[in-house]
Every structure is written in C-alpha cells, then in structure tokens.
C-alpha cells in the first residue's frame, strides 16, 4: 500500500515539476533584484536539483509523520500547506457527502424499480435519462441550473403564483411518473395516471392559494400524516404490512413523533442545538426499541430495525418542518432580501450568525445547486449499476428456489435479491466518493467553493508544487483507504469470497 502511495506521488511530482518554469515571471522581470530573487527561490525550492531527486526532499517532510515533524512545505505565498488543506477538506467533504448520499439513495431505489419493470416504458425512459446524464458536461449543466433553478426560482418567489401551464405540465409529469412506476393493466395505468394528475394539480393550486411558497411548513397535521405514511411504508418494505406487531411498533414511533411535535418546537429553540438534537434522537430511538419490545415477543430484531428507520424518518420530517418555518424569516433578512437561492459561495457572509436555524437554512441553500449538479451525474451511475446488478441476481438459482418455496415477491426482492444486489454496489460507492473529490474540481470552481478542487486548480495555475503534492497525497491516500475499505466490505458482505480463499 505504501509502495502505491510512493509510486503515484512520485509520478505526480515529476509531472508537476516539469509542468512549467516557476521562475518564468522573474526571468522576464525588469526588477534589478530579479537575479537575486531567482537565486533565493532556486535555493528555497531546490530548483537546481533534478526533479526525481528533488522528490526525496519533499518525501523527507512527509515521512516526518513517523517522527512527529509532518511537513508538506509551504505554498508559493508562504502559507502552510497542511493548514490550507485542513480548511479545504471539510468543505469538499460536506459538498461530496450530501450529493453522494442523495445519489445513492435515489439512484438505487430508481434502479431497482427499473430492473423490476425491465423493458417497460419507464425502464427505457430512465435508461435514456441515465445516458443523457453520462453525456452531460457538468459545467454546462451548472450554468443552466444557475439560470433556471436559482434565478428563475428567485424571480418566481417574488410573485409566487403558479401559472396554469406549469400546473398542467407538472401534473402531467407526475401522472406519467407514477403510472409508469406502478404499472399494471391498461385500465389500472389510466386510473393511476388520472389520480396522480388530479392530486398533483390540487396540491400545487392549494400551495399557490395558501402562499405556501413564501410561508411553507408542514404543521402538526401533515407531519402526523407523513409520519404514519412513513411507518406503514417502512413496515411494508421490511416485513410486510401483514406483520401487525411490527406495524404497531413502527406506528407508535410515528404517534410519538406527532405527540412530540409541540414540545419539540420549544426544544428546537433552546441553545446547544447539537446536544439537544442528539438527546431527542436518543429518545426517539428508545421509544422505537421500547415499542418493538412491547409489541413483539418473538423475532424482535426486525421490529427494532423497522422502528429505528421509522424514527429516523420521523425525526427528519420534524427537522424539515422546522426549517420550513424558518423560511419566511430567512427570506426577509437583509442579507437574503427575498432571493433565497444563491448561485455562488459556501455561505452568506452578511447573514447574522446568532440564529442557528437561519444559518442552517443558509448552508442548505448554498449547498443545493452544487449538490444537484454533482448528484445528477452519479445518480445516473447508480441507476445503471443497481439495475444491472439486480437483474443479474434475479437470474440466479436461489431466487428461483425462493420463489418456488412460495415466498412473497416482497420477501424475494427485499430479503434475497436486494442484499446481494448491494454487494457489488458497495465497492462502487466507496470508490465513487473518492472519485468525486477529485472530480469536484469543476463544480467547485463554477459555484465558487474553496475546497480541494479549487486549491488544486489554483496550485496548477501558480505552478505551486508543494500545494499540488499536498492535494495529490490526500487524494491518493483516500483512494487507497477507500480501496481497502471496499475490499474489507466485500469480504464481509459476501461469504463466497471468504470461502474462496
């Protein structure tokens, strides 16, 4: 492993060292001191030593990690590379983590649906869409996002009335989407299409009439309904709705969420948000576990799992509701001035920092566009892989056996097929997270984020070898760690590999 790290940094060092002449600006300068400066810089950067040997000067600093004198050198501006990286890495991780998480969850669920509806119209549409995403230059797409999603949406918010063509268009899309996903006989498809169309149109019109866009919120009523829906949905996916005891324990978590709605509004306003939040989460988890132990006498494991997933979803609902309530106040601050979707930057510097929820919302709004840009491309990758992987698993003999045993289709898919589908996907997930860090160069530069990507770009333009090496070291190291994790996960998930050895 260390050999790989050594090799790849060696290659990058020599590439970087031969990239250009760091003294070029001084050589053509008319400054009388230029000669002296050239000499100084040459001595400082060891430019008189050929690059393959110069690499070892740099390596000595890196190897200092074992003796406690870890040193990656200084940038051309005299800043410490380590501290620069220390600032940039969290930014990059924040950007990449959200988008990857989103892409994984959405990508895998849509991918699985397309595999189950193989060769349907929905499958073809998603396939086409995935290929379109593969072929989309992210910098081009980002400009479109800025134009339509940010500026367009901001303009819309200044007069939030949804016009009739939009209502019609969105309802049409929703109708086609749901009828394609659920499928069935022709009559059923039309019924689903009609109801999805009507429901969407009604919701949008209602949202416009109640000024929901400028003053959104779920309220206790909607929170309870969604929480109940989440409980039923999770139970249906994990054990099936006929398992009443599990359903009751999941539902009791949802009920607890509804009861806790008003107390939580008070808790959310208190100081020490993080501590409070962890406490609340623990209470929810305790309720989930308690309920499953109360209702279930046997087979408690799956009930606990179901309740915990439900608890996470309900908690998420409550937080989203709280953020929605903050929306109007956030929009009316001077710093935002009713244009909430920003096109550049990591955070709004003008925003007053006292209000935790305003700052959270601000961070979310700033992360939104770059996340969409990044997620949309890796989403396509996950859709394709999840589809291919599930199709392969469904062809296996043990699936036929499971069906022949008379298991329900849900058990076959969720228990037997889904878990095995995830095995190859985990490897992709791990390496993908690393790949995005390298690939976020473009996204960061478009949206004006100061992360690893923009540091890298800056180091190239300034011919800043130390900075470049610092970034390469971090990415190469992460790539290796990711490979290791992928290998370990793979053998942990797949007993066949362990047995094969």
């Amino acid at each position: 492993m260390l050999i790989v790290l050594f090799g790849s940094t060696f290659i990058i060092y020599n590439l970087g060292a031969n990239m250009g002449d760091p003294l070029e600006a001084l050589r053509i300068s008319q400054d009388p001191n230029a000669k002296q400066q050239i000499l100084n810089l040459t001595r400082e950067l060891h430019l008189d030593v050929p690059s393959p040997i110069r690499y070892f000067y740099w390596l000595r600093g890196v190897l200092g990690v074992f003796t406690g004198h870890f040193d990656l050198g200084q940038t051309r501006d005299g800043l410490n590379v380590i501290s620069q990286l220390g600032d940039a890495i969290p930014t990059s991780i924040r950007l990449v983590a959200v988008s990857t998480l989103l892409a994984i969850i959405l990508g895998i669920s849509i991918g699985i649906v397309t595999a189950l509806r193989q060769y349907s119209r929905f499958d073809y549409a998603v396939t086409f869409y995935a290929f379109l995403c593969f072929s989309l230059p992210v910098f081009w797409f980002a400009v479109l996002l800025k134009q339509y999603l940010a500026i367009g949406f901001n303009n819309f918010l200044s007069d939030p009335q949804v016009s009739a063509p939009w209502v019609l268009g969105l309802s049409l899309i929703s109708g086609v989407f749901w009828s394609a996903i659920i499928g069935g006989s022709r009559k059923r498809v039309w019924i689903i299409f009609g109801s999805a169309f009507a429901v969407t149109a009604a919701i949008i019109v209602l949202m416009g009439l109640t000024n929901w866009f400028t003053n959104p919120g779920l309220g206790i009523f909607l929170v309870s309904i969604f929480a109940g829906g989440a409980a039923v949905g999770v139970t249906q996916l994990s054990t099936g709705i006929s398992n009443r005891k599990t359903l009751y324990s999941a539902l009791s978590v949802a009920v607890f969420g509804a009861i806790a709605y008003f107390p939580l509004q008070w808790v959310f306003e208190q100081k020490h948000h993080l501590v409070n939040f962890i406490l609340v989460a623990l209470v929810f988890a305790a309720v989930g576990v308690g309920a499953s132990f109360f209702f279930n006498k046997i087979d408690r494991g799956q009930a606990v799992r179901t309740s915990l997933i439900t608890a996470v979803l309900v908690l998420l609902l409550l937080v989203v509701d709280k953020l929605m309530q903050t929306w109007n106040g956030y929009m009316s601050t001077d710093a935002v001035n009713y244009r909430p979707v920003p096109t550049v930057g990591q955070a709004n510097d003008l925003l007053e920092t006292g209000n935790f929820w305003n700052s959270t919302l601000d961070l979310l709004m700033h992360i939104a566009l770059p996340t969409i840009a990044l997620a949309i491309i890796s989403f396509a990758v996950y859709v394709r892989y999840a589809r291919g992987s599930l199709l392969e698993v469904l062809n296996q003999d043990y699936i036929r056996t499971a069906r022949a045993k008379g298991l329900t289709e849900r058990t076959v898919i969720m228990r037997h097929a889904f878990r095995n589908t995830m095995i190859p996907l985990t490897t992709i997930m791990v390496t993908d997270i690393v790949g995005i860090i390298g690939g976020a160069v473009i996204t960061e530069s478009i949206f004006g984020w100061i992360g690893m990507g923009s540091l890298f770009r800056g180091s190239l333009v300034a011919l800043d070898l130390n900075m470049l090496m610092g970034i390469s070291l971090v990415t190469a190291f992460m790539a290796m760690v990711a490979n290791l994790i992928a290998d370990l996960l793979y053998s942990a998930l797949d007993p066949r590999i362990r047995a094969g050895k």
Binding site: G7, S8, I11, L15, Y119, F134, S135, Q147, G438, V441
Partner: protein, 366 residues
Amino acid sequence: MFNKKNKNIDSAASATGGENAIANKEIEGLSQGQIVRRRFVRHRAAMIALFSLLGIALFVFSASGIHLGSEKHPISVPGWWHYSITDLPELAVTGCPDGAVGCPTLDLLPSFIDGTGMQIGDHPFGQDDIGRDYFALVMRGAQQSIMVMVIIGLVGGMLGTIVGAISGFFRGWVDAVLMRFTDFIITIPFIMVGAVIGFKYGNLGVVVLALMLGLFSWTGLSRLVRGEFLTLRTREFVDAARVAGASNARIVFKHILPNAVGVIIVSVTLLMSGAILTESALSYLGFGVVAPDVSLGLLISQYQDSFTTRPWLFWWPGLFIIAIALSVNFIGDGLRDAFDPRQKRRITKKEREQARVAKREAKADA
C-alpha cells in the same frame, strides 16, 4: 466471471422452455461474429446512435475542413463552409431581438408559423464577440472533440489491451510489476493527470494533448483485460492449443484475444465517451486547448456569462458535446448487449404464440 456466463448458457440450452427454444433457434448455425452483428443491428437505439454519430462526424469534418500540422507546415483541406475560425466578418448589429449583437440567422420554422421563411443565412449560429462566425467555431470545436475521442480511444485501448494481456497471460513477476504500476496511475484522479498534461501540452494542439491523455487512460481497461485473460488462459481450448504445439503468440492472438474482444470494445467506447467530457472539462478549466484554437469546452467557458443576453453562444457547443457523447454511450450500450451472451432478446407475445402453434402442429404431425 466467464465461467458463470457459460454455466448460464448451458443451463439455458438444456432447459426445454419455449422461450429458450425461440432464442436458440435464431442463433443456430451462426458464428460468434454474426450473432454479435445481428444483435447489434437489432438494437434500435444503438443503430440510431451509430448513424447520428457518423452523420455528425461527416458534417463536422466536411464543414470546416481538416487542419492539422504545425503553423509552419500546415496540412489543410478546406471545407464547404465559407468562413473559417480565423475570418473576421463584420459583426451584425441590427435585426436582433433585445438589442443583442451577432444573433443566429438560422430559422427552422416555416413562414406560416413565425412569419419569416426557413433559411440558413450568413451566420446560422450567430457571431461571437469579435464577429467570428460561430458556426465555424462550433464545427471546429466538435471536430476537435471527435479527434480527441478517437485518439484517446485508440491509444488507451491499445495500451490497456497490451498491458492487461501481458500481465494476465504471463502472470508471475511481470503481472506484479505491471499491476503495481497500474495502481500508481489509478490512484491519481484522471482529471488531475489531465490538468497537468493539458497545462503543459495544451498549446501544442489537440492531437498532442489527446496522445498524452491516452497515455494515462488505459488503467481501467488493462485491469479488465487482465481479469479476462486470467480466466481464459485456464480454459480447455487454450490447453488443447498448447498441447497441439501452438506458440504463445498464436494462443494469445488466435485463441484468447478473440474471446476477450467484447470486453475490450465495450470499455473502449465508454473510455471514448468519457474522453469527450474530459477534454471539454479541461478546456473549460483552461488546461486543455487554448486560444486561438477552439474547443467546445473553451467556447462554453468563454461565453457562459453571456447566457442571459446571447444564449445561442452557450447552447450550441453544449448540444454538440451532448449529441456526440450520447451517441457514443448508446453505441457502447448496444455493443454490450450484443456481446453479452446472457442478454436474451425479449420474446414478444406474437413470437410466443407462433412457437406454441408450431409446437402444436408438430405434435399433431406426430
């Protein structure tokens, strides 16, 4: 991996299900190449993509002509379009909506819809800031993209195949050394290598840039080819060839390579579609093709701020990137389906009915 495939074929062949019988009947008496070609031709999306890619390439190359070589010794074949990227026609300042300058003269709507007739005009895609014809610029950029794609595909594909084949076939220390070297390169994000290369070689023209990028883009392919060679070399037909006294070269080229060609072709197409995006991204960042030459990524980066006033400067290069990359992706998908023996064609209801009728008739005859 390959063994698994074979098992599936065997089980599929031995099963006496009606669907398998239909599928098997179709490939009776055909060689592997014929089967693959048939399957590919039947893949509708891939065929559309193939023709549109060929169409785009022909259109683009004939429009702007071919310009290679250095500044001192240019190799130029003029195209049919009457402007080149260095011409500076007068910037049209009138006749545009909202006071914009140099708007496109292309009008695809006939006069009964928008009042003006269909026409191509002098500058179908408009003009850029200094009056250069945008159609010529976009054509040149698309040409560059296609060249980069082909060169990276060829260089990367060849290197990857060679490295993978050598390490998979000879194994032992050769394999260890080559794969370690592959690991070195694979841990460096491609965009980083690309940026460093582009920064140094971008001004030497797109061919040099593509060649250098190709030198670093073989890693993924070599791993795949190695895996394929490792499994293929243990197969019986290879042993048979060796017993019959075949040389290493003969075994590799006659027996193993033809069986691995599916994997190679499919990943080369994916490599190519990635190459277009990489090149345009590098040019966008300023590390690829540099002015005065043009590339689609460079055009987008130059005119992204004029999106609100002159959107055509932004749309056209992007649409060309998408069209080319999308076609290549669909071709790759078609090839993957064609080469994958597990992929069975969907049996339509009609065919199933026909098979049933045929079976009944056969029974009646007997």
